[in-house]
Each structure stands twice: as C-alpha cells, then as structure tokens.
Amino acid sequence: MNVKEIVEEITRRFQADVQVKEIPCGVKKIKRTSIFVAIKREDFRKFMDFLFQIQEHPHFAIISATDLGEDMELLYHFTVDYGKQHEEKTLSLRVKLSKNDLKIESITDLIPGALISEREIHEMVGVEFIGLKDTRHFFLPEDWPEGKYPWRRDETFPDDMLNKLYETWKEGDGNE
C-alpha cells in the first residue's frame, strides 16, 4: 500500500486523526514519510489487525510515553514496507489513556518482540498491559518501591530519590 491508500483505508475504517509528514533529504530531495495516527483505545486491537494486513510482519520499534497531566499518551512506533528501497514508512499509533484508568491490551501475543518495551512502560509509567504475562522489572532494580514512576510528571515521581547518588556512595563506609 502506498501512503495515500494507507491514509484512506485508516479514515474509512476508524475514527482516527491522521497526520502525514514528508521530509525531503539530500540533493535528490527524496522524501521520507512518517504517519501519525490517533485512535481510540477501543479500536486498538482492530488497528493492530489492520497493521498486519499492510505487511505480514509489521516491524515494532518502541512505545514512547508522554505525560500530559490528566492523561498519559502512548505512542506505538511501527515501521511498515521495510526491505523495499525508499518505500518504508513509520507509522506511529497514538492512544490516550486517562490516568485513572491506565490500561491497554498487550500486543505481545501478536508481536513477541514488544515484550521489553511493554515491561519498560509498565515500570516507568505504570501502564497495565492486559494479557502481559511477564511484568517483572527490566530496567529498574528488583527492589524498586511500588507506585513510583520515574517518567511521570506528577506526585508519583520519586522526588525523594533524586540527587541521592552521593549518599548512596557514602552508605556503609562508616563516615556518615
């Protein structure tokens, strides 16, 4: 599918806000394309099915999270049509979650490679992935306090742990 077809298909099937960015580069000014799609949480799994129709194995890159105050925004970055010269597009899927209800379906059953990213968002932001079996810490230490999320901009941010590197060093050397 080319960019136009993808955009048409998305607007036909979903209540979605689609933005396309095309950026030229080099001397020949060949363009690279990024597509940003904002959808409702209810349509999330349906959109994943659509993604698998574009390419048999859509490449999952990463989930990024942005704290918008009331809401938490997850942006799933996928790339489709890789392996074809200059044809690849990044497709970023935006889902807004209310902080009272930070839940979304896991995609690890469809794309096992999303495991680390879901575990990361789970521990850094506190989003619960429904169906994610492995919810152990991956980047944070095992004894990390519960309910503290370092990538949030609200009261759950671990303020009291900030700038404590010096104390950590001093600990146990008998000079406190």
């Binding site: 080099g26 999952f60 990463i62 990024s64 790339t79 392996g83 680390i116 230490p141 990538w151």
Partner: protein, 411 residues
C-alpha cells in the same frame, strides 16, 4: 526445567559482552535448555535528563554519551527528530558530511566487533591485527572532528565542522588503505577453517524468529531479512546513493542465520561503507553546513517550536530510533525516547542460545554486537544450594579450549 538442569546466572557484569546485562541460563550438562535476560544495572536516566534538565543543544552532547561507539548515530538520530519537530532542516552539504561521518563510524565499529569476536574464540593475533587496522579510521575521525571518541560534530540543522579539500584527500587515502587490506581481512575471517568450525551453525536465528522478535541491523540481515534503514527510509545522503541491504546470500548464495553469517554481513558492510564514503566525497555539494549559525538564535527558535518528530538512523548495530516532542515555551523536551538497536536484539539471544553450549555463550552473545558494558563474575548455583563462581576469564578459557579441541580433531 528438569531435575538435571542447573541454573547459571551470567552477569550482571558480562559474559564476553563487555557490558552489564544478566543472563540466567539453565543447562543440562553442557546443553543450554533455558534462557532469561535482565538489564537494569546501568539505567542512567538519560531521557529523563533531556526531559527535565537540558536544553535541546545540550542534549546533543548528552546523546553522544549514550554509547561510546555509536556516538555519531545517536546524536544524528536525535537532531533529525528535533529537525523534524521544529522544521529547521539541514543544508545539502551537511547531509553529505553526516553520511561520511556515519560510515566512518560503521567501519570502526565493525572492525572493533570483528576483533572482539576473534578474541572470544581465542584468536588474539587476529584480534590485534584487526584493531591495528582500525587505528587508521580512528586517526581519520580524529583529523576530521578533533576527537577519536565523542566527536561533537552534529548540530540541529547541520554539522559543526566542514570537510576541506585536504580533508577530502586524506579520506580518499584512508579508503584506499581499506580497499587494499580488505582481501586479507576477508581471507582471515571467511576462509579460515577454525573460525568456520566455531561459528558455522552456531547461534542460529531463523528468519521467522528475526521477524517476530523485531531483530534489527546485521543480526536481522544475517537471517535474510533485507532490512536496512539506509535502504528503506531516506535520510542524510543515503537516498541519493541508493544503498542495498546486505544479506549473506550475496556472498555465497546461502543463508544459515548463524554467527558466521553475521561475520559475512559485517565484513561486506565495511566494503560497502568504503564505497559510500568515496562516492560522498566525490559528490560533496557546495554550500553552507548549518541552517542557523547563531546558536542563541537557534536556541530561541527551538524554544518557540512545538511539535513532534522521529529520527531514524542505521547504526552499526542496527536501527536506532529517537522520538522527540517539543513544547512551546519550554526548553527541555516534553518527551524523549531513545531506542538503541540492542534493545531489540536482546530477545533474539533466547532462540540463539537454546540448544547451544556454555562455551558458545561468549561468541553468540558477541555476535549480536551488544551495546551495554562488563561481567567479571558468574555464580553457578546447583540444586543443593552450593555456590561456586565462574570468572569471565574461566569462561573465556572454556571458549578458547573449545577452539583448540576442534582444531585438534580436524587434523
């Protein structure tokens, strides 16, 4: 896990990977029957600093410190994302200089990797020889940027240093050097029977697994997934050149998806990089190297900008992606996410290691060219709770012994 299995935690500091990661390996005798991976030892909160402390220009130099080897691709990736978000695009000449710098980095990184791989299987002569060759490109990088490691050449909307006529001549000389030496490197790595014995059909990653686990870079390409950001997604000057992703079947018409294939892919990529650099030097367009020379003005522009952008770069280890979101009136990013290639290449270790031997762990782990840093201790806990430790040196010794054993048996 059967009752005969032992669980071996490798790490948090290194099993041949010179960086902190924990592997928990279940073994039955010599055979690996279960693998689990943990990170978490050195999360430095770089993204957090970019989101809370730094202005975007400071973040360029912070992103260089994400990795000591990939210190062109991370800042390149980040500035592309910021350019995308703010609409400050680099001039053509800057695109070409970026390409040259990124390819020089690929040459040095792949040679560094090839040396480490040789060391892991006990070929220290080859290791020293490869690293001696690598010095040429390091000198070239130092000449062009002023530094061997943190090069500080990227800037939002361009690059900070131009390439002079004399610089072009030096680059050409350097590339000529590598073209002359390439046949010898190829002969050492690809025709040596012992390297082949240790790496052929070891650490296999099937195409299916590579696709499902979203492997990137040489690891994916060695499993016949023709995925290369330089080929697929136009950035810098690569679209003008028309890069082709290298898969092992280009070399000998077959794909195994093993460690040997990863060696083939990386070596051929060194040659490809030399060709790209020569082409870029010949076709370097004239013009400015920065969209906005005045840093204070640039900083104000970035402060006023609002939007989001994605930067993608083919780092030596695979696809690198940065997401940046700018908020009007604030200098630090509203959101910044870095996804380095190893992030995606850690899960494929599991199918690669399953069914292998402990002595293969170093070379298989090293074959993905992981970018984290140092095990010096492995604790083995047996079922009765007895503990004993395997040092990195011991594991290296096991690996070297296996090579010697195979060599003896071959004669």
């Amino acid at each position: 896990m059967s009752e005969h299995a032992y669980s071996i935690p490798i790490g948090p500091l290194h099993p041949a990977i010179h960086e902190p990661i924990t592997l928990k390996i279940d073994v039955e005798g010599e055979k690996i029957v279960g693998v689990d991976v943990f990170c978490s030892q050195v999360h430095r909160g770089i993204e957090w600093l970019g989101m809370n402390r730094n202005n975007p220009i400071q973040s360029i130099y912070l992103s260089e410190r994400v990795c000591g080897i990939c210190n062109i691709c991370h800042p390149l990736c980040m500035v592309q994302a910021v350019e995308d978000a703010s609409g400050i695009y680099p001039p053509e000449r800057a695109d070409y200089i970026r390409t040259i710098m990124a390819e020089l980095e690929r040459i040095h990184s792949h040679l560094l990797w090839a040396g480490v791989a040789a060391h892991e299987i006990g070929f220290d002569t080859v290791f020293h020889y490869t690293w001696a060759l690598r010095e040429k490109v390091m000198d070239l990088i130092e000449y062009l940027t002023g530094n061997r490691v943190t090069k500080a050449i990227m800037m939002i909307g361009g690059v900070r240093r131009d390439i002079t006529e004399e610089g072009k001549k030096k680059i050409k000389e350097g590339m000529q050097f590598y073209l002359e030496k390439f046949a010898k490197i190829e002969d050492i790595y690809l025709n040596d029977p012992t390297i082949k014995m240790r790496t052929r059909d070891v650490g296999i990653l099937s195409k299916e697994d590579a696709l499902k686990l979203c492997a990137v870079g040489p690891v994916a390409r060695a499993s016949a997934v023709p995925k290369d950001v330089r080929q697929d997604f136009p950035y810098a000057a690569y679209a003008d050149y028309g890069v082709k992703a290298i898969t092992p079947d280009m070399y000998n018409g077959e794909v195994h998806g093993d460690v040997f294939d990863r060696i083939i892919v990386r070596l051929l990529e060194v040659k490809q990089s030399v060709e790209i650099i020569n082409w870029a030097v010949d076709n370097l367009p004239k013009g400015p190297i920065l969209a906005e020379k005045n840093l204070v003005k640039l900083k104000m522009l970035l402060k006023k900008a609002e939007g989001e952008g994605i930067g993608r770069v083919e780092a030596p280890r695979g696809e690198d992606i940065h997401y940046v979101r700018l908020e009007k009136g604030k200098e630090p990013y509203l959101s910044w996410k870095i996804r380095a290639p190893t992030y995606n290449n850690v899960l494929p270790w599991i199918p690669m290691l399953l069914g292998g031997q402990i002595a293969d762990v170093p070379i298989v782990a090293a074959s993905t060219d992981p970018c984290m840093s140092c095990l010096n201790r492995v604790t083995v806990v047996d079922e009765k709770g007895r503990k004993y430790e395997i040092t990195k040196e011991y594991m290296h010794e096991l690996s070297v012994k296996k090579t010697r054993r195979l060599m003896r048996n071959a004669h």
